[in-house]
């Protein structure tokens, strides 16, 4: 929201800084391969859970069992049951679908709109740049979550209006990353060399600049996917996102939070699901960035 959140992309900097310094301890100079490997495996498993939820889940996630509300974990219900006696494990599995679909849509649109805007701002400069940057600044003038809530207020509470609201706050984030990365690249001699050879700016952009900022972009997009997931879960948690009978981890957390005095398991598992998705995404984003630096040094 995180954030909002405009401070969030600073996260990338300290990570870089930690690895850059010769004095950083070995553990921090690069993530151990095991951690990265485990993260990727975990992410694949979660995606597989979302896709194969109907095969994996033993119960219908919306079938109540009113005789056993807040039942603890048992052999029949590994993660226990929620306020209406629904099977928490099945709900986590099905909930993974919307929890992943939401940020996927956000990132696809934010990427598709933000990246061309960022390119255009950096490359054409002048009034185009000023115009685009001012619109971005205006969106950054709001705390991201607040803007998202106001947009949800406009279009009514539903999963898709929450997705749209979060998308609006991510377009300028993507655009700004691309714009500043492009501005840095433009100063480099190879771009000058291309110009001297008389290449058009689009050719330089697509064939020469884009591959060089590609990895920063992929790393940042991975990170934003994690944040978009958190923002959407926050909106769902506030009752402004997915509506029953839709299930995502945010709504599960909200539902369990209301019965927190009865049972903690309902809170722990969706919270764990969110963390187990977001932390590995952070590690992978870090690793992509590091890999790109490794390549640059070898060159």
């Amino acid at each position: 929201m995180t954030t909002t959140y405009t401070g969030l992309d600073v996260l990338l900097e300290p990570a870089e800084d930690l690895r850059h310094t010769r004095y950083g301890s070995r553990l921090l100079r690069g993530l151990p391969k095991v951690v990265v490997g485990a993260s990727i495996v975990l992410l694949v498993v979660i995606v597989a859970c979302a896709i194969f939820a109907p095969l994996l889940a033993r119960y219908n996630p919306n079938t109540p069992d009113l005789l056993h509300p807040y039942a603890g974990p048992s052999a029949a219900h590994l993660f226990g049951q929620d306020s209406a006696g629904r099977d928490i494990l099945s709900r986590i599995l099905y909930g993974a679908r919307l929890s992943l679909l939401g940020p996927t849509i956000v990132i696809l649109i934010a990427f598709g709109v933000g990246v061309p805007l960022g390119f255009a701002a950096a490359y054409t400069g002048g009034w185009t740049d000023i115009g685009i940057s001012r619109v971005f600044d205006l969106i950054f003038a709001f705390p991201a979550l607040l803007l998202a809530i106001v947009i949800v207020a406009t279009f009514g509470t539903s999963f898709y209006s929450a997705v749209f609201a979060v998308t609006v706050t991510y377009i300028p984030l993507m655009g700004r990353v691309v714009r500043s990365a492009c501005l840095v690249e433009r100063q480099k001699p190879y771009v000058e060399a291309c110009r001297l050879q008389g290449y058009g700016s689009w050719r330089i952009l697509v064939l020469h600049v884009a591959p060089n900022i590609g990895r920063i972009l992929v790393s940042q997009t991975t990170l934003y996917f994690a944040y978009a997931l958190l923002d959407l879960a926050a909106l769902s948690f506030l009752g402004l996102g997915a509506q029953p009978p839709q299930i995502d981890w945010g709504t599960m957390l909200e539902n369990a939070n209301q019965g927190v005095f009865q049972s903690a398991t309902g809170v722990i598992f969706p919270a764990l699901a969110i963390v187990l998705l977001v932390v590995p995404l952070n590690f992978v984003a870090d690793w992509i960035l590091e890999y790109s630096r490794g390549r640059e040094e070898r060159r």
Binding site: V10, T21, A141, F142, I149, V150, A153, T154
Partner: protein
């Protein structure tokens, strides 16, 4: 400096004005009608609708409504809450304290502990403390406030019962209220605290390697004096930046945390008002939060000048 201040102030007010237009337009073009919502989801009859529109000024054109709203705002009148049938100011007044107290508490926790942990781990670089702090902050930056909040409520509020898990203790003394706000404030502050400590750590490390600190060491000053007198000030620019950015984040994070802990603050009110299409209240809260957000970034910009004279000079030259 004065000229710089004037320009910054003018831009801030400009951005704030434009932001109110954005929120105003957004809230009024959306589908759904507050009269219908108040009527239990059924469209009211024409006479009621006319009365309703006249009472809340909804029968004017959109620009006219905005100008009227702005005119009232300049007289300290935020309009009338449709759901509460009373002025927005009287709806906001009892709740604003909770939000300010919660955010202030979280800002204090973040600043004090974030900077302290960051400086310590920067100074004892690579020691066990540094390692623990770095691993902790890596984890906590990735965990959202509402997850921390819910988990803290379970651990310390329900299982251990050290702190109240819900409610704001609104009627009690300041101490009771702080007691009630401790868990929410910790939950709100943790991920920002982690980030602040990381930035502080790398800023301190960078400064410790600078020539003037080396000079201070060579002159035989005690380690304490080198750190406190020669290192801290120079390393504060990135720290102030991140703290400013994070305060903005805490302001919106407070919305979620209030909701999670059942606190009667602006955030909970905002969520209720969004669901009830209570335009005036949403608009007022959006204005207040955006104002705080912009105001804080203004203060951060001015702080740069205080910390680093070079910024001050550059500012007065433009």
């Amino acid at each position: 400096m004065l000229r710089y201040l004037g320009i910054r102030l003018a831009t801030t007010i400009g951005v704030l004005l434009v932001s109110t237009v954005v929120v105003f337009v957004l809230l009024h073009v959306g589908p759904g009608n507050p009269a219908t919502l108040l009527n239990g989801g059924h469209p009211p009859n024409a006479a009621t609708l006319r009365y309703f529109d006249a009472r809340y000024g909804l029968n004017h054109s959109l620009p006219a409504q905005y100008v009227i709203w702005l005119g009232h705002l300049l007289h300290g009148d935020f309009g009338e809450s449709i759901a509460a049938h009373s002025p927005v100011t009287s709806v906001l007044a009892p709740r604003i304290g909770v939000t300010l107290l919660l955010t202030g508490y979280a800002v204090l926790l973040m600043t004090i502990f974030g900077v302290a942990i960051g400086v310590l781990s920067g100074v004892v670089r690579n020691g066990p403390f540094d390692l623990a702090a770095t691993l902790g902050s890596l984890t906590f930056t990735a965990i959202p406030t509402y997850v921390t909040g819910v988990v803290l409520a379970v651990l310390f509020g329900v299982d251990l019962a050290w702190f109240p898990a819900e409610g704001g203790g609104d009627t009690g003394s300041l101490l009771t209220r702080l007691d009630h706000l401790t868990l929410p404030a910790v939950a709100l502050a943790l991920s920002s605290l982690a980030l602040v400590s990381r930035i502080t750590r790398s800023a301190v490390i960078g400064e410790l390697e600078s020539d003037h600190v080396f000079g201070a060491k060579v002159r035989g000053f005690s380690r304490r004096r080198v750190v406190l007198k020669h290192t801290l000030r120079g390393s504060m620019i990135p720290v102030v930046t991140i703290i400013g950015a994070q305060i903005g984040y805490l302001l919106s994070g407070a919305i979620v945390i209030e909701y999670a802990f059942g606190l009667n603050g602006l955030g909970t009110l905002l969520v209720e008002s969004v669901q009830g299409k209570d335009y005036a209240v949403v608009q007022a809260i959006a204005l207040l939060v955006t104002f705080e957000f912009l105001f804080i970034s203004l203060i951060v910009d001015l702080l740069y000048g205080l910390i680093d004279p070079r910024v001050r000079l550059a500012g007065s030259r433009t």
